[in-house]
Amino acid sequence: MIRVESATVAFAQGGGEDRVVLKGLSLEVPRGQTVSIIGSNGAGKSTLLNAIAGTVPLVSGSIVVDGRDCTRDPEWARAAYLGRVRQNPLAGTAGDMTILDNLALASRKGRRRLRLAVTPSIARDLAGRVAELGMGLENRLRENVSKLSGGQRQALTLLMAVLSRPSVLLLDEHTAALDPANADLVSALTKRFIAEYGLTALIVTHDMKRALDQAGRVVMMHEGRIVADVEGAEKERMGVPDLVDLFRQARGSDYAEDRDLLR
């Protein structure tokens, strides 16, 4: 469960007033729910996820995960119960280390101990997990991650993010840098892992169809606020055109085309 309460985030900009990017935004996501977050460029989607993860500080408001207020906790402390995948496939893994070492690193959260990270039984277990990706990576465990393709690397990052069963999974356009085939593959894996591990997930995407397919709830952001929030039967009835209509209404404008949104 995660609760964002009137979160405000502002960035200093050269001279003049700060740019307010999240404007007292509130959002509550119950355990086990998947939420798609959509909205045009600059709406504040990434900033919302960054604020939850602790990458950017809140000016005011609070973040509560599983009943625990973590607003003041540093990013690394929150990471112990958050899983995260970013748009850049290079961001989440150590490229100069082997697939096995990366998995071993991610298989447990928090303080590291002085005991062997990879024993034969751990290696077997991790090989089994990585085999679930269906990419044959279980046969390349001793290769460096930098040798993987973007899609393979992002799939691995996703696996590493869910391996420790985080309280909340944060995905920020994690398929955007991949070609369509790989994007479909990683999307399918995402859906599977969320179901398998019963995760609570926030997924930022520009893909309207995917936003509707992958989640039971769709939240629409605009200029630092949530302007629409649909779930249940209402969401099930919606198609991509309805979503676009909703966006136009919510934004209070009637642009003929919303290229940003429909990308």
């Binding site: 690394w76 989440g92 100069d96 991610a106 002085l114 062997l116 930098s146």
Partner: protein, 313 residues
């Protein structure tokens, strides 16, 4: 001569392992080794001297002096590393500057540890060397005892490091220098992990300093001059000679590179006059060696694309 090169290569190889950890594993350009190496030498020499002076009922002190000296060398170096880490993390001072601060400050601290003198001879009183001779004299011929001691020390340090970099902490440390975000992502405080690494690296430099003082027969405040470059040259020579992305091989090749470096320096000292090279030119030679190693590995990367950790300068 060969023996001298090997002993020096192994003793200073421990220093090179420290340089390897900071520059390669942590990606932290740490100059504090120039302070932690002599700090280790000074601490060891001070302990040994105090043990020799201690009177009445201090037999245990004399007996423990070699171990205390080595431990103090590591601790003194580690302390210098901790100072660098504090300055870097608390004041957000970049690594180079933090290292310079430590190195400068420790010059005075080392002078104090040496009792206000720039130089503390251990000629009459060198329990580390005597210990090595008497313990290993039974196993190896007397003239090889020193080499055996240096070999055992260097291999023990390298073996422990190899083991360490296979632990959870060690793997996290490897990932930290590679991509800090990947370490934060698994709930590890990057600052404390980096501190541990810097303390370890400088502790090794201090340990190497303690052994070097015993081997040279004195401790000197100026012991540290040029050790960063010597360590780096050793690391790079090792990388040129042996390509691998296995951490174990990477660790042991540092020792190999250090022996290679001492060999080259010896050759320059002995036969350099043939080419008009004097001992005054050795630093220039070290500098050229580093530049050469970087150039060759850059060129080799273009052609063969080895793993990045092996090649990046």
């Amino acid at each position: 001569m060969i023996q001298g090169i090997l002993v020096e290569g192994l003793v200073y190889g421990i220093l090179a392992l420290g340089v390897f950890i900071s520059f390669r594993i942590l990606d932290f350009a740490d100059l504090s080794v120039e302070g932690s190496f002599p700090a280790g030498a000074a601490a060891a020499a001070a302990i040994v001297t105090a043990a020799a002076r201690a009177e009445g009922g201090a037999a245990w002190f004399a007996a423990a002096a070699p171990f205390l000296a080595v431990a103090a060398g590591f601790a003194a170096g580690g302390l210098a590393g901790f100072a660098t880490s504090l300055v870097h993390h608390k004041l957000k001072v970049p690594p180079l500057l933090a290292g310079i601060v430590t190195m400068t400050g420790f010059y005075s601290i080392n002078l104090r540890v040496l009792g206000g003198r720039p130089n503390l001879p251990l000629i009459k009183n060198n329990p580390l060397l005597d210990g090595a001779r008497s313990w290993l004299g039974a196993l190896a011929p007397p003239d090889l005892a020193l080499l055996a001691a240096a070999l055992l020390s260097a291999l023990a340090v390298a073996g422990i490091l190899d083991l360490f970099f296979h632990t959870e902490k060690g793997i996290a440390m490897g990932a930290l220098g590679d991509n800090e975000a990947s370490v934060i992502q698994v709930g590890v405080n990057p600052a404390s992990l980096r501190t541990l690494g810097i303390v370890l690296a400088n502790g090794l430099a201090g340990l190497s300093g303690a052994l070097a003082a015993a081997y040279q027969g004195f401790a000197d405040v100026n012991f540290g001059a040029g050790v960063v470059a010597a360590g780096l040259a050793s690391v790079m020579l090792g990388e040129l000679a042996i390509k691998s992305h296995y951490i174990g091989v990477q660790i042991f090749r540092v020792l190999f590179g250090s022996i290679l470096f001492r060999g080259l320096m010896y050759a320059a000292r002995s036969w350099g006059y043939l080419a008009g090279i004097t001992p005054n030119d050795l630093r220039l030679l070290t500098a050229l060696l580093i530049v050469g190693a970087v150039a060759v590995s850059k060129y080799a990367i273009k052609r063969t694309k080895p793993s990045r950790r092996g090649g990046k300068a």
